[in-house]
Amino acid sequence: MPVKRADKTPMPVRDARVRAHDFREVNLGYTQAHAAFEADRCLRCQEPICVDGCPVKIPIPDFIHAVSIGDMAGAAKILRTANPLPAICGRVCPQESQCESECSMVKHHDSVAIGHLERYVADWERTQALTVRAEITRKEKIAVIGAGPSGLVCAGELARLGYPVTIYEALHAPGGVLRYGIPEFRLPKSVLDWEIGVLKAMGVEIVCNVIIGRTLTLDALFDKYGCAAVFIGTGAGLPQFLGIPGENLNGVMSANEFLTRVNLMRGYEFPEADTPVRVGKRFAVIGAGNTAMDAVRTSLRMGADEALIVYRRSEKEMGARVEEYHHAIEEGVKFHWLTNPLEVLGDDGWVTGLKCQRMKLGERDASGRARPVPIEGSEFVLPVDNVVLAIGTTPNPLLTRTTSGLLTNKRGCLVADEQTGLTSRERVFAGGDAVTGAATVILAAGAGKRAAQAIHEALAPKQ
């Protein structure tokens, strides 16, 4: 029976002083006792509004109830039916602004730790023998472009519906941002590999090193490969730069470059792995989203003595998950709020400092957030050896530039129906960051899932 307890069962974590210097996972995960204790906090509301806060509509009280009565297989089945990537979402979703913000407990107490429980169930599932298998019952071939969150979920959902699916991935390994962006200490690659293994067991084929729009055209997928529908999940991988002086100095990188060198290319193993990453003593990251937190915390693990966040707005406007922010503070990251970078300073071609200006909050801007306004005469210099930009990404133009009839908006995002993901081309669907611009893993997963349903309805209309 539900037990009223005000406090969320805390997630066991590794000591900040130790974990800040290696790449092993920070969160240790609930034990069975933690999970049972926390599951009992769920009130099992008649109308569970937490489900409305979930982009893939996981029947949250149902799976938590299964945990509380010890039916782990049942809990895992409920989760997996709604969300093909539970072990990943349990780790990287911003639950505090989604399901957990809707939890009835939250009015007076902590919300139920839905994310931690999701992770617990998915991790239990990973210790079990795989029960899924390929059951291809349909003849229509589907191509998915990009093996990131939206593509993986779309492919998994289509495979579950019986379609033969091939994912085309441009890089040498699948996962998209889950592989090149999110660091090992937050999402171990073994978890990602396991989830991808499940998809493969379900019959999903993954072909790496094929760039649709370059190696093969979108039209060739229909004409030569006989696909009945295509899903585009190419993400938002193109990094933005500020356009301030000094940005081309050696030691300035996009967060994408820094994280790709470390995560995808395993730069932390250099010289055993071949891709180097040069990290100096003082490492500044511009921006305060999840990518910025990942980059700044990675810099500590790569040997930086001092890791700084430089953000022109205040703590309140920060885009990062609360948990990442807290972990960053514990690990010793320093935050320069209301600080606007003006110029990267250098000597002999290498970064030596970041010239900044103090800001104050003014009126609200178009995003609804208070607009930062410069304070006259407040310029100062932060001595740093690296400057990493984590100020956002835009959709990759490779496919849209080489494909006719695919409409994009002025931000370069694909125009697609919000519900079905249908683009301006017949039988071409899209979802995830390629449509929304940089967002979250779970929003991409939700879009992939809806598009899979829409593809199914288009190909197998109900009689």
Binding site: N209, T260, L264, M265, T275, N396
Partner: protein, 279 residues
């Protein structure tokens, strides 16, 4: 995994590979490149496509041993497979038809002139290739290039073959009206210093010139921005906006400095490789 069908040593440090890669061969265009990776944990390196045979489904690349990864590539032989080959990436070289195009190749960059010159000659352009090296034995692919151009101009620093001097000196003579005459377009592919010298040679006489930039890259698909090149004061990504840019707009100083970012690590990797080979 793409299999190597044939290899040819061109000089002690350059090797030519013919690879079975039908999808890439079918869509490759002059000026584009592929990303290679040769081992687990290996880095991704961009290599310009030298030539392709669409009917045979093969790709030709020329690799020069400059670092640990290129050394590993050059250790591969016919029958070996390359772990990852992705492409074609980057934009193709586009030139208005009907003019006189002069391709300038330095070092192993000469290889990349092959498919470009063949396509231009086939469509009816007048084509000249100026290729150079320090001495005769370092000149590569002359017999491959000769049948696909109208004029082949060979230069060596020591005069052991062809014109004695730099490719830029011969190019200046052509612009002045010598030999096949002033080109309408110049395309330079080779070491950064050579491309900068070509840009200087053609700037005054206002001959439109493209250079194929070869910056450090991680993914090669637009994701990292590590390959940004300053062109006309703007930072452009060589992998999606290039790799060929207007030579007179490129900031070579910045490009050369950026290419030296990892010299220390490259040296370490080379020493390590030598050490492993010695064991």
């Amino acid at each position: 995994m793409p299999r190597i069908l044939e290899t040819r040593r061109l000089t002690p440090v350059t090797k030519c590979f013919r690879i079975d890669a039908p999808l890439i061969a079918a869509s490759a265009q002059p000026g584009q490149f592929v990303m290679l990776r040769v081992r687990d944990g290996g880095e991704r390196i961009p290599i310009t496509i030298a030539d392709y045979d669409r009917a045979a489904g093969t790709l030709m690349i020329v690799v020069q041993e400059v670092g640990a990864t290129t050394k590993r590539v050059c250790a591969l032989e016919a029958g070996d497979e390359i772990l990852d080959v992705a492409g074609p990436l980057g934009g193709k070289i586009e030139l208005p038809p009907g003019g006189h195009v002069c391709g300038v190749g330095g070092g192993f960059g000469t290889a990349s002139l092959l498919c470009l010159m063949r396509e231009l000659t086939a469509r009816g352009d007048k084509t000249t290739a100026i290729v150079g090296a320090r001495s005769k034995d370092l000149l590569i692919l002359l017999d491959d290039l000769r049948p696909v151009v109208h004029n082949l101009e060979v230069c060596t620093d020591d005069g052991s073959a062809g014109f004695k001097g730099f490719v830029t000196q011969r190019l200046a003579q052509l612009i002045a009206g010598d030999g096949p005459g002033r080109p309408d377009h110049v395309v330079a592919i080779g070491p950064m210093a050579m491309m900068r010298a070509v840009a200087q040679t053609t700037r005054e006489p206002k001959v439109k010139t493209l250079v194929s930039m070869d910056p450090l890259m991680v993914d090669g698909t637009g994701m990292c921005g590590g390959c940004r090149v300053t062109v006309g004061g703007k930072a452009l990504f060589a992998c999606v906006d290039g790799p060929c840019f207007d030579a007179h707009e490129v900031d070579f100083e910045v490009a050369m400095r950026r290419n030296k970012q990892y010299v220390r690590e490259e040296k370490l990797a080379m020493e390590r490789l030598a050490c492993m080979a010695a064991r």
